[in-house]
């Protein structure tokens, strides 16, 4: 009996301890985001604010930090980055998985090579190219990197296609369907779970990306959610109560996504790690 109690004490004790470690910094951030400047400076972080209805910091962060622009730019990157990844990933995987042709091995090797070199580090080689192509300081620079140099989606689609029997294609051919029809009416709909995984992983990666936009879009009107916060912190070092609100605002979309699609996110993370 005592042993049983000890075990469950240990069990729940450790679970609660790790939960505390995760939540504690977030909770102090949450408290801080509602405090006034004086309250923030004079009370400890773990002391709850006196007024949880004080949204001044949020309004200030949103307006002074120009967060609407950050959200707009990030949204555009997401739209084209995720959409492009789905189209490109599924097309390439369909061709590689279903057809034999001359340079197939070379192409697979190229994808492998690109996936080995860390995306950040190859920017040393990409940087000048962006200037030459006139993409520097445009939204296109991150987009082409997200769909051209991040190749995770091809691997996820290849895995999924392996599980779709080739008889499907043959049956469709016998019914007189063209390859384009097979791709768009048979294969792509069957790839839905993979598409969900790709969309989720890319969404998280692009939304959370900091370095690529930071490197290629220094312009004042080109901030994304991540770079907005970075550049907002610079001149406002003392206004941590407002910065807290800005950080929390930036987390809201991912929070919503997480609560809506928890199960798929668990699957997605697993699929994204094992190639």
């Amino acid at each position: 009996m005592i042993k049983k109690v000890m075990i469950s004490l240990l069990k729940y004790g450790s679970l609660l301890l790790w939960s505390f470690i995760i939540f504690f910094p977030l909770i102090t951030l949450f408290f801080g985001s509602f405090k006034t400047y004086d309250e923030f400076v004079n009370t400890a972080g773990m002391v709850p604010t006196e007024n949880f209805l004080n949204f001044d910091n949020y309004i200030r962060a949103f307006n002074e930090g120009k967060m609407l622009m950050g959200f707009t730019n990030t949204f555009i990157l997401l739209l084209f980055g995720v959409g492009g990844s789905i189209i490109i990933g599924s097309m390439v995987a369909y061709i590689i998985n279903r057809f034999d042709f001359k340079f197939k091995k070379t192409i697979l090797f190229a994808y492998l090579l690109v996936s080995i070199v860390p995306l950040e580090i190859s920017q040393v080689g990409t940087f000048k190219l962006m200037h030459k192509l006139g993409l520097y300081n445009t939204l296109l620079a991150p987009i082409v990197i997200y769909i051209g140099a991040d190749v995770l989606m091809v691997y996820i689609y290849l895995q999924a296609l392996d599980k779709i029997p080739k008889e499907m294609d043959k049956a469709a051919i016998l019914e007189g369907a063209s390859y384009y029809k097979i791709y768009s009416r048979v294969i792509f709909p069957l790839l839905k779970p993979a598409t969900a995984t790709v969309a989720l992983l890319k969404m998280i990666a692009i939304y959370n990306d900091f370095y690529i936009p930071y490197l290629y879009m220094p312009g004042e009107k080109m901030n994304t959610v991540s770079t907005t916060i970075y550049r907002f912190v610079g001149p406002n070092q003392t206004d941590w109560h407002v910065i807290s609100a800005a950080i929390l605002i930036s987390m809201i979309p991912m929070l919503i996504l997480f609560f809506m699609l928890q199960k798929y996110i668990y699957q997605g993370i697993t699929a994204g790690s094992i190639r």
């Binding site: 069990k11 450790s14 679970l15 790790w18 939960s19 470690i21 995760i22 504690f24 910094p25 102090t28 400890a44 972080g45 773990m46 490109i88 097309m91 390439v92 369909y94 061709i95 057809f99 042709f101 192409i107 090579l113 690109v114 080995i116 070199v117 860390p118 950040e120 580090i121 190859s122 920017q123 040393v124 080689g125 990409t126 940087f127 000048k128 190219l129 082409v144 051209g148 140099a149 390859y179 384009y180 791709y183 998280i204 900091f210 370095y211 991540s226 916060i229 970075y230 912190v233 910065i243 930036s250 987390m251 991912m254 997480f258 996110i265 668990y266 699957q267 993370i269 790690s273 094992i274």
Partner: protein, 291 residues
């Protein structure tokens, strides 16, 4: 008939691959070759002429301790990765047993890996600031004399960064292991139970062998992650006070010091190390397929 079919096939292949490959070769492959080319020059990123200097960049990096000692910091992130594995594995096994509030704990553990590196960095900049929440927590439990400048003191700053890395990434490993533990066949547990195995024996003899592959893959991913850490130190310390990592050093050498040649050879070196690790990974995959 046959030729008609192959013609159509070719059309399709060309049509479907043209744009993706154009993007891949322009923004994926070309930069890699550019890196290799730059690495043999003393190019500053601006001048129209690139002077070839042979292997001197490589020799400089591999012989000057200034460039190599930052690899020691990778060691800290590597150890952090190891701790991450232990914590994640512990909770993955624990949550596979009967636990109240399982979904809540699962969600809590995974949540941090959805927060952007920027938000995490800023959150902890506040948390670990002098007089911040962490210091007041120490005060509360009577450890006031141990407070220090967590993100500035060269003696502790790397451990602080290592902790933040664990905080952020453990969820990813956890969910991987959790899925893998669910896949261990039930009969194996039953068999162990019949044989009278203890809890620890069950973990050691049933669960660990069952999730071996996932563990190995994760281990390699973490090694690569440790080598390519740079976002946290960039935002939190900008590499000062001994927090420089090899990747951060590479980026600064290129984009701040404008020494593209030297930076490119650093990039090549770290890529080769990662390539070697990936080769080991492939070997493991092959070993699994053979079984």
């Amino acid at each position: 008939m046959l030729s008609n079919k192959t013609k159509k096939e070719r059309q399709l292949i060309g049509c479907f691959l043209f744009c993706p490959l154009l993007l891949l070769f322009t923004f994926g492959i070309y930069p890699i070759f550019a890196l290799i080319e730059y690495s043999f020059t003393s190019w500053n990123g601006l001048s129209p002429v690139k002077t070839y200097v042979g292997f001197s960049n490589y020799i400089k990096i591999l012989t000057d301790p200034v460039y190599l000692k930052v690899f020691f910091n990778s060691l800290i992130y590597f150890i952090a990765g190891f701790i991450q594995i232990v914590i994640a594995l512990f909770f993955a096994i624990l949550l596979s047993t009967k636990v109240k509030g399982k979904n809540f704990f699962k969600a809590t553990f995974v949540f941090p890996c959805l927060i952007s590196g920027m938000a995490v960095a800023m959150l902890f900049r506040l948390f670990f600031s002098p007089g911040g929440s962490f210091d007041s927590l120490l005060e509360l439990i009577g450890l006031t004399e141990h407070t220090r400048y967590w993100l500035g003191d060269p003696r502790v700053v790397n451990y602080t960064l290592g902790f933040i890395s664990i905080w952020r990434h453990t969820g990813k490993s956890f969910i991987l292991y959790f899925g893998a533990v669910q896949c261990v066949p039930l009969e194996h547990y039953k068999l162990a139970e019949i044989e009278g195995a203890s809890w620890w024996q069950k973990v050691r003899l049933v669960i660990l062998p069952g999730i071996q592959i996932v563990l190995k893959i994760n281990f390699i991913l973490l090694t690569i992650g440790a080598l390519s850490t740079f976002e946290l130190p960039l935002i939190l310390t900008n590499g000062s006070n001994g927090t420089m990592t090899f990747l951060l050093q590479t980026m600064k050498t290129a984009f701040e010091k404008k020494m593209f040649g030297l930076a490119a050879s650093m990039a090549v070196i770290v890529s080769l190390v990662i390539l070697a690790i990936t080769a080991i990974q492939n070997k493991i995959y092959k070993g699994v397929e053979d079984d």
